[in-house]
Structures are given as structure tokens and as C-alpha cells.
């Protein structure tokens, strides 16, 4: 291969880092059995590429070159530590003995799956699972993740350090769990993916990054060759749900950054490709008859996606899907959504009485969206002063941080309209 100009090469290496670092890291973790060592070896391997490739040109096979460089770098690290710490010598010897085993393509994909299960291990606190998955599997930097979750890099760095310490101290293995515990552990992984996605739902610029990564993770879970164990309908359901929600991103906010609710969105801005893929996945999951809450939510999103307007939406079907969702995942928030669907199907009065019952049960009394939904129904019934009071209640309960700013502006706008 012809030698490339140095600036081309550093761009190629940067792109390669984006697309390959997750795979390379995962394989090095399996080979070295140590996340920190694997990470260091991976960084050194990329540094070595930056130094060597301008002279030698691009190697034929980039990924194997980097994995092999990473192994040699790891041995260097072990040798250095061994000089001062005898305990390290065993591992270095074992590593050197295995240096000539070249990992197979399929194995590399399995490695990524192993790493996801480790990062989403239930022994780690949820915020640690999310941070670790984004950094180790998706290859985001500490600073990028911190920006997306609106915390300081130092806070996020510590979450990662603590999560890694738990993996080390509890000797959590790097492996896909055995069949017996697979479905429970898969549930934890799906929850992390959905948490990442939801964190990306509301904020525009940084949010798009998180949603993209969550969808990538969903595809990874679905597409890993040899991961037939994971052909769980809920994996399809979750990916379908995320694609259907994401299809509306361009329509959710005005050019000025104002929040636009479903009934007022310009549906021509919805992403048709994402809708088609999301609906196909959802139908597949539904056909399995073993689906769960993600698939049901995807089915609800699919009905919205297929409707040409809020009025022509099949609200009866949506109400029935919410009934099933409440049976398998009872939650006051699901009940609230069902009440809104009933308001569309049977009329605002029916919806309002359901919401008032829910608010009386107090679980949702502090939830700003419950008051804002109530306000909307009052508004539609012409009970304007009551509507305004409920919007004001919602505003007083909405969190005052940057992420909730569009919601707060939306509520203020509605209050202004009702004055």
C-alpha cells in the first residue's frame, strides 16, 4: 500500500479509533483478563500506529495489527511492573505463552458482547453501569459522557473508577452469563441501553449522541453472530421502540428550541426509514408471542408512527396495548399514559376523572407531567382557570436544570396563553 500523508493517516487512525476501539478493547480484555491493563494496551497500540504507520504505510489488516500491538504493549507493561512486584510475573509469563494465538473474527464480536455483560453487571450501581458501557463499549470519552449527563468530568471519572474497582474486587468475569441467568442479566443490559437512550431523548445536541449510541448498542445485541441465545423478542422490541422514538427527533423541537408535542408535530419531518425498520422489528417481536414491556411500548409508538394525524390515530388500539402493559409492568406512569389515550378515545372527561384518581393516590402527586396532562384536558374542556392552576403546579414541580429547560418554557407558554 502506498504511504499516506501524515495528516491523512492521523485522520484514518482517529476514524479507526471511533469504529474499532470498542472491538479491540473487548478482545484485549478477554486476552488479558484485566480491564485497566487492556485499556492501557489499547491506547498504546493506537499510539504505536500513529508512530509506525507513517513509515511503513497502512498494514493489510488493521484490526489484527492493533490487537497484536496491544498484546505486546501489555507484555511491556507487565515486565515493567514485574521488576517491582513479583505477583505480576505469572500473568506476564502466561501472556507471552499465548501471544501467537490470533483471535478469529467471530470471537471478536463475542468479545464485545462479553464486555457489555460485564459493564452492565447488577453488582455495579446503575449510574456506573451506564458510564462504563458508554466509555468501554461505545468508546466515548469521560468528558463526552459527563457533558451528556450534565455532571462534571471529575464526578463521572469517579463513577468509572468505582465501577472498575467493583469489577476487580468482586472478580466479575468477562463472559456472557450461562443460559440459566441469561434472561435476568439480559434485562439489566436492556435497561442500561434504554437509560442511555432516554438520557438522550430530551436534550438536543448532546442528546443525539446518546440516542445514536443506544441504537448502536441495540443493533449490536441483535446482530452479534453466534449470539442466538439473545434472539429474545425484547431485544427486537427495544430496538424497534428506540428507532420509532428517534424517528420523531427532527419534529420534536422548533427551530427556536421550543418543545413540540406529538399532536402538533409536522409529521412530514418524521424519519420514514427509521419508522419502517422500527415497525418491522416490532412486528417480528409481537409474532413471537413471548414479548414484554419494550415490545408493547414499541407497538404503541408504531401506531402513532402510522397515523397521519393525532385525530386519526387508532386510540382504541393504543388503550388496549396500555391495558396489557399495565398487566405486565404495573406503574402509575403507564396508567397516566393510558388515561391520556382514553381521553383521546372516549373523551377528555373520562381521561380527567382517571387522572384525578391517580393524583389522589399520591404516587404521582409530585410528577410534573401528571399535572401538565391534567391541565391539557381541563383546557380542552374549556375549564381555563383550572387548566392554568394545573400548568402552574406542573411548572413548580419541573426540575430546574438545563435538560428540563424546554419543558419549563413549554409550560410557561401554555400559562401565558391561558391568561
Amino acid at each position: 500500500m502506498l504511504p499516506n500523508a501524515p495528516e491523512d493517516l492521523s485522520r484514518i487512525i482517529e476514524t479507526l479509533y471511533r469504529s474499532e476501539s470498542g472491538r479491540i478493547l473487548a478482545t484485549l480484555v478477554r486476552l488479558l483478563g484485566d480491564l485497566d491493563l487492556a485499556e492501557e494496551a489499547m491506547h498504546e497500540a493506537f499510539a504505536a500506529a500513529l508512530e509506525t504507520w507513517p513509515q511503513t504505510g497502512l498494514p493489510d489488516k488493521l484490526r489484527p495489527w492493533l490487537i497484536s500491538a496491544g498484546r505486546f504493549k501489555a507484555i511491556d507493561v507487565m515486565r515493567r511492573r514485574r521488576r517491582f512486584d513479583d505477583a505480576q510475573s505469572d500473568l506476564a509469563l502466561r501472556l507471552e505463552a499465548r501471544i501467537n494465538e490470533a483471535p478469529q473474527e467471530e470471537e471478536i464480536e463475542d468479545d464485545r458482547l462479553r464486555l457489555i455483560f460485564t459493564c452492565c453487571h447488577p453488582a455495579l450501581p446503575p449510574e456506573g453501569q451506564v458510564a462504563l458501557t458508554l466509555r468501554e463499549v461505545c468508546g466515548l470519552t469521560t468528558e463526552e459522557i459527563a457533558r451528556a449527563f450534565l455532571v462534571t468530568p471529575a464526578t463521572l471519572a469517579q463513577r468509572i473508577v468505582r465501577a472498575k474497582a467493583i469489577i476487580r474486587d468482586k472478580a466479575i468475569p468477562y463472559q456472557v452469563p450461562a443460559l440459566l441467568e441469561l434472561s435476568a442479566r439480559l434485562g439489566a443490559v436492556l435497561q442500561v441501553v434504554y437509560l442511555v437512550f432516554n438520557a438522550g431523548y430530551s436534550t438536543e445536541a448532546t442528546g443525539a449522541v446518546l440516542s445514536r449510541e443506544a441504537i448502536r448498542l441495540g443493533r449490536l445485541l441483535l446482530d452479534v453472530p453466534g449470539a442466538d441465545l439473545l434472539r429474545e423478542p425484547e431485544v427486537m422490541g427495544l430496538l424497534g421502540l428506540m428507532l420509532l422514538q428517534e424517528s420523531r427527533r427532527a419534529a420534536r423541537n422548533s427551530a427556536e428550541g421550543e418543545l413540540i408535542l406529538l399532536d402538533r408535530q409536522d409529521r412530514s419531518l418524521w424519519n420514514r426509514d427509521q419508522i419502517a425498520e422500527g415497525i418491522a422489528l416490532t412486528e417480528n417481536a409481537l409474532r413471537s408471542r413471548r414479548f414484554g414491556a419494550y415490545t408493547l411500548q414499541a407497538a404503541i409508538a408504531a401506531i402513532h408512527a402510522e397515523a397521519s394525524s393525532a385525530v386519526s390515530t387508532d386510540w382504541r388500539q393504543i388503550t388496549l396495548l396500555y391495558d396489557r402493559l399495565i398487566r405486565i409492568q404495573p406503574s402509575p406512569v403507564v396508567e397516566l399514559n393510558r388515561a391520556v389515550a382514553i381521553a383521546m378515545y372516549e373523551g377528555p372527561e373520562q381521561g380527567l376523572s382517571l387522572i384525578d384518581d391517580l393524583l389522589a393516590r399520591e404516587e404521582l402527586a409530585g410528577y410534573h407531567l401528571a399535572h401538565s396532562a391534567r391541565a391539557d384536558l381541563c383546557r380542552r374542556l374549556g375549564r381555563f382557570s383550572e387548566a392554568r392552576a394545573s400548568y402552574e403546579k406542573a411548572l413548580s414541580l419541573a426540575r430546574q436544570d438545563a435538560r428540563h429547560e424546554p419543558e419549563r418554557r413549554f409550560l410557561l407558554g401554555r400559562i401565558e396563553e391561558l391568561k
Binding site: E39, E40, H43, A47, T141, P153, I160
Partner: protein, 133 residues
């Protein structure tokens, strides 16, 4: 990205070491510094002479004042600074966690380097307007 690592140590502890112990510590630390250099992580660094050699400069009653010694008196003294090239904060933590100085009781404060380019540009703009007037 650059991370500045401020290394603090306890002078009393170092004074209590034998010469062999001190040499072993230096050898380990310098060897690790070489490793950082070899892998492109070393973006600079300087050791500091003891805090007695410091002079502190500040503003007092409308003029510049100076005093002998460091600005704050603590048991730990700033012993040196290291500028690290790392991919992100956790990479910096990982590299410094292996620094042998930590094992010998040094404390590192790690801070991302600040980007003053925007501030400097804005300041240049203000000064240009001032002279143009």
C-alpha cells in the same frame, strides 16, 4: 487532551528515608516517567525546589506585595508538576495511578488543561479597539 498533574509530598517523610530507600524511589519514578515519554503521554514536567525557596506575590492596599514562602502552609508540599497527554480523564487517572510516587505517599491532583484561546482572542479584540480609538 492535556492534563496537569500536581504532585504533593510530605517533606518530613522523605527526610526520614535512608539513602538507598530514596534512590530506589527515584529510580522507580524516573523509569515510569521514561515509560510515559516512550508512549507519547509525557507532555512536559518540572520538579520544584523546596517550598522555602518560594516567594509569593500578591496585591495588597493598592500595590504589589511579596512574602517569603509558599502561599499556603500545609503538611503536604507541591513537589512538581507533570503535564500528561491522555485521551480522557479516566485515561489520565489510570496512567497516574501506576506512578510509583503514589505508592511512596505522594498525592496527585489531576486537572484538565484550560483552553484560553477564546478568552485571549476576545481580549485581543478589546485591546485592538482601545488602541484604535
Amino acid at each position: 487532551m492535556k492534563y496537569i498533574c500536581l504532585g504533593y509530598y510530605e517533606p518530613a517523610k522523605h527526610a526520614g528515608m535512608t539513602e538507598d530507600e530514596r534512590n530506589a524511589m527515584f529510580d522507580e519514578c524516573f523509569e515510569y516517567d521514561d515509560h510515559l515519554r516512550a508512549n507519547g503521554h509525557w507532555a512536559g514536567g518540572e520538579a520544584l525546589q523546596p517550598s522555602e525557596t518560594a516567594l509569593t506575590l500578591y496585591w495588597k492596599n493598592g500595590k504589589v506585595a511579596t512574602t517569603d514562602g509558599p502561599y499556603t502552609e500545609t503538611k503536604e508540599q507541591l513537589g512538581g508538576i507533570l503535564v500528561l497527554e491522555a485521551r480522557d480523564m479516566n485515561h489520565a487517572i489510570q496512567l497516574m495511578a501506576q506512578h510509583p510516587a503514589v505508592k511512596y505517599g505522594s498525592i496527585f491532583e489531576i486537572r484538565p488543561s484550560g483552553d484560553l484561546n477564546e478568552m485571549m482572542k476576545a481580549s485581543q479584540e478589546r485591546r485592538r479597539k482601545l488602541t484604535a480609538r
